[in-house]
């Protein structure tokens, strides 16, 4: 009965949609999903494990709203790194505790000279700035031009809801999960920008 171990493409889509808003909070969540989809529990577990291994699921667990935990300041710290050093500096910064995101993105000259984007979260602006200062000293990054863009208003924290849920790709909601759509003031950002 080997076939039962695997989900068809269609069943995989259904599973993706079933979990896009989260796992069921039952003692046996994978069985709950399996029953709802009419497949075997082991196939659900196998598929999820495969998705994690393939990197389709990049995190599996829980995501905290860091704003609710007192991490109210977030700074986008951007760096103008010489192209031949960007991998090296990117690796370095991504390993630092204070850095919660690290991406290389294109410059938009003359308006925008920065090609390495990092996010630093902290409980206050001064804490963020201290962490940044430490980072610069520790890694001798003083010579790299940078800018710090604090956010001061968040207008929308919800989104990434693909409109065509029923289409064959079955995307549904991706990283940008959201439970509170009405927003005023600065709030959390689901920390998984593309």
């Amino acid at each position: 009965m080997k076939a039962e171990l695997y989900l068809t493409d269609h069943q995989q889509q259904e599973l993706r949609q079933a979990i896009q808003d989260g796992l069921p909070l039952t003692a046996q969540p994978y069985r709950t999903l399996a029953t709802a989809l009419g497949v075997s529990e082991v196939a659900v577990m196998q598929t999820l494990a495969q998705w994690m291994e393939d990197g389709l699921i990049k995190r599996f667990g829980l995501v905290v709203k860091h704003h609710a935990l007192g991490y109210r300041s977030n700074a986008m710290v951007v760096w103008d790194v010489p192209d031949h050093l960007v991998d090296q500096v990117g690796e370095l910064l991504s390993r630092a505790d204070a850095v919660t995101l690290c991406y290389q993105r294109p410059r938009k000259l003359p308006q925008w000279r920065y090609n390495l984007f990092t996010m630093i979260h902290g409980k206050s602006r001064s804490m963020v700035m201290e962490q940044l200062a430490d980072l610069i000293t520790t890694h001798q990054l003083d010579g790299i031009p940078r800018d710090v863009l604090f956010s001061y208003r968040l207008f929308k924290q919800c989104g990434g809801h693909y409109s065509g849920r029923s289409r064959s790709v079955g995307l549904g909601k991706v990283d940008l999960s959201c439970r509170n759509s009405a927003v005023s003031g600065q709030d959390n950002v689901q920390v998984a920008y593309g």
């Binding site: 699921i57 829980l62 989104g159 998984a192």
Partner: protein, 147 residues
Amino acid sequence: MDNIDKQLVNRLQDGFPVTERPFLAIAEEFGLEESDVMQRVQTLLDDGILSRFGPMFQAERLGGGLTLAAMKVAPEDYEKVVEQVNAFPEVAHNYQREHELNMWFVLATETPEGIEDTIQRMEAITGYQVYNMPKQEEFYVGLRFEL
């Protein structure tokens, strides 16, 4: 949120077991009852401490488009433009930031081509240029918030 909740959140940020009784596995690590762990997770969700319990998909791998975009909006136009931009369902968390480029938001579209299309429509409606800054490389960060 008590001490156990904090430890639980720290633990679950590192991953949730894919086993038949995952809450039981966690409960055993903590010396708690399975039902207690489930109840605590539910309460953390209800209280808005957690934004998500379950998987986070890698957007690009699902075939969609995802990018970070910025605009340089005149202060007197800001409120109007933010409304126009946020009216797009493709727009996720839109931040006002301190820079000449003062509006920053994430665009998520169903197909990769959808990004360019959305940007064109957005530029037409707002009259402002949209700077598209898709990621070229991601340096992996094990994101977690220690409680």
